[in-house]
């Protein structure tokens, strides 16, 4: 006998989609407390994601700003003959001073440099006073922060220069602080994320169990697997979307107000907050997308486990 292995695959019709949405919403109401718990977990998670993202983005901006504004540290070659060294340093200082865009040049001897190090790292270093390994240094400041990098690159080509440093050093500490807080925040968010996903998959599991009979009959009369599964995935999506409403609102209102209060006081200062737009659009989009992902993922886990159709 000839056999046709046709699969039942119909493109989803409009009324089918409407039916899936209707079923998913009905189920939200039926699950009452579990729905509430899941939405709350998503809310807390996303609130944290929102606050954290805003803080990190602002800190990143601050780090950027500071990096642009640092002085250039020019390490001068060590020259054995003191007279020769003096002459070379004088020429170098003169040359740099005369460069366009340079605001000021300050000389710091290697003894002064060692004092600075001892100040910040302690007496242990004072044993180096016998044979100081450091260089004499010129500190150069640009009149415009943006020119810092250009000037530093030009200075590198001068004679008697052993090294030119800028930026990294001063921002280094801020960056390591940023890194630490980013890691702490990520771990915290990851923990909450799993809690939220776990709660959602539990809610969906309860829905699936509550509708065992319905599912059995659906399968019996030939409903496709996706037809059986989709309402549960949509229900998970709702949990995610509903859980993102409060975080989006709170983050938007709070940041807009902080911005309104703080921004005037920062006027003209180096530190600036990120503008409300596009920041809030970006953060809200992130919150919503994460909410949907959490919800869909959570329900997928249950659907896969409990709906082997």
């Amino acid at each position: 006998m000839s056999v046709m292995y046709t699969e039942v695959t119909t493109a989803m019709k409009g009324r089918t989609i409407r039916r899936h949405f209707r079923e998913s919403i009905k189920s939200l109401g039926r699950n009452g407390w579990m729905t509430f718990a899941s939405i709350s977990a998503v809310t807390v998670t996303l609130l944290l994601v929102g606050v954290f993202t805003i803080i990190m983005m602002n800190l990143n901006k601050v780090a950027d700003d500071i990096e642009k504004d640092v002085e250039i540290k020019v390490l001068i070659d060590i020259i054995a003959d003191p007279a020769e060294a003096k002459a070379a340093e004088a020429t170098l200082m003169e040359e740099i001073k005369n460069m366009p865009g340079v605001a000021e040049v300050v000389y710091s001897s290697k003894e002064q440099e060692l004092d600075l190090l001892v100040d910040s790292y302690g007496e242990d270093l004072s044993l180096f006073e016998q044979s100081n390994p450091l260089n004499n240094v010129l500190y150069v400041k640009a009149s415009e922060p943006q020119q810092t990098v250009d000037i530093a690159k030009k200075i590198e080509k001068f004679d008697n220069i052993s090294e030119v440093k800028y930026g990294e050093e001063k921002v280094g500490k801020l960056f390591s602080f940023l890194n630490t807080s980013r890691n702490v925040g990520l771990v915290l968010i990851l923990g909450l994320l799993f809690t939220a996903i776990f709660l959602i998959s539990n809610t969906i599991r309860i829905t699936i169990i509550a509708r065992r009979d319905e599912i059995e009959i659906m399968k019996l009369v030939g409903a496709t697997n996706s037809f059986v599964r989709i309402p549960f995935v949509i229900e998970g999506m709702w949990l995610g979307v509903l859980g993102s409403i409060v975080p989006m609102t709170v983050v938007s209102i709070v940041y807009a107000n902080i911005f309104k209060i703080i921004e005037p006081k920062l006027n003209g200062e180096l530190l600036q907050l990120l503008d409300v737009t596009p920041l809030l659009y970006q953060v809200n989009a992130l919150i919503l997308v994460m909410g949907i992902l959490i919800g869909v993922w959570g329900s997928f886990m249950s659907v896969r486990k409990f709906l082997k159709v």
């Binding site: 089918t16 659906m218 009369v221 030939g222 409903a223 159709v309």
Partner: protein, 228 residues
């Protein structure tokens, strides 16, 4: 319509509920499946709508070989079959109309067609006047009639029933049998597992007797054959 060829079904716990069953049921036949409790009647039925997969051997239904049928192709098989159970399996939150329409909604039949066909089958089972009632407002016989209506509403080639009168009193059982005969008269193949001696001995059809997972008797117009 239904062919089984040396079908063995061994459950994970080691019980062999079908031990080499071969059978050929033609289109339009009416077949009783009889045998003592635990003989393997329900297993025989479940193999047909692929609730269970055979351990070995072939089951072919309406041209589909269930041994090689993929999971995602099962809906296609189910749409060719109607299945009726002893416990009706109606959804308590849906009324009579909705319970029957449900079977068509989930296979995405269009609403106009659904309404027309639900009314047709309600007429056939004689429950047109109770469309808005809920299962808990119906007698057992009426509930079974709804479940039969649901099983035939998608116009299946085969109706499979596992002890459809098992929960019903004799009077009601006869009414249910009348409906099955009517469905059969319209060309639908019917396979029915039953313990009802009266019915098998009165409405004479092909009788397949199963014992210990084997067909021990297969007679057209046979009798029930076991002492009540």
């Amino acid at each position: 319509m239904i062919q089984m060829n040396n079908v063995v079904k061994k459950y994970p716990n080691g019980v062999v509920a079908a031990n080499g069953i071969s059978v050929d049921i033609k289109k339009g036949e009416f077949v009783y499946v009889v045998g003592p409790s635990g003989a393997g009647k329900s297993t025989f039925i479940k193999l047909m709508y692929r609730e269970e997969k055979p351990t070995s051997g072939d089951v072919v239904i309406a041209g589909m070989n269930l041994s090689s049928l993929k999971n995602r192709q099962v809906p296609h098989l189910r749409r060719q079959l109607g299945v009726v159970f002893q416990d009706f399996k109606l959804l308590p939150r849906l009324n009579v109309y909705e319970n029957i329409a449900f079977a068509l909604e989930v296979i995405e039949e269009n609403p106009k067609e659904i309404r027309k066909r639900v009314m047709e089958v309600l007429d056939l089972v004689g429950l047109k006047h109770k469309v808005r009632m809920f299962p808990n407002e119906l007698s057992g016989g009426e509930q079974q009639r709804v479940s039969i209506a649901r099983s035939i509403v998608n116009m299946p080639k085969v109706v499979i029933a596992d002890e459809p009168t098992g929960n019903l009193d004799p009077e009601t059982s006869w009414e249910i049998m009348n409906i099955f005969e009517e469905i059969n008269a319209r060309g639908t193949t019917i396979v029915m597992a039953t313990h009802n001696r009266e019915i098998v001995n009165t409405i004479r059809k092909r009788v397949i007797a199963i014992e210990g997972g084997l067909i021990v008797r297969d007679v057209y117009g046979g009798d029930y054959g076991y002492e009540g």
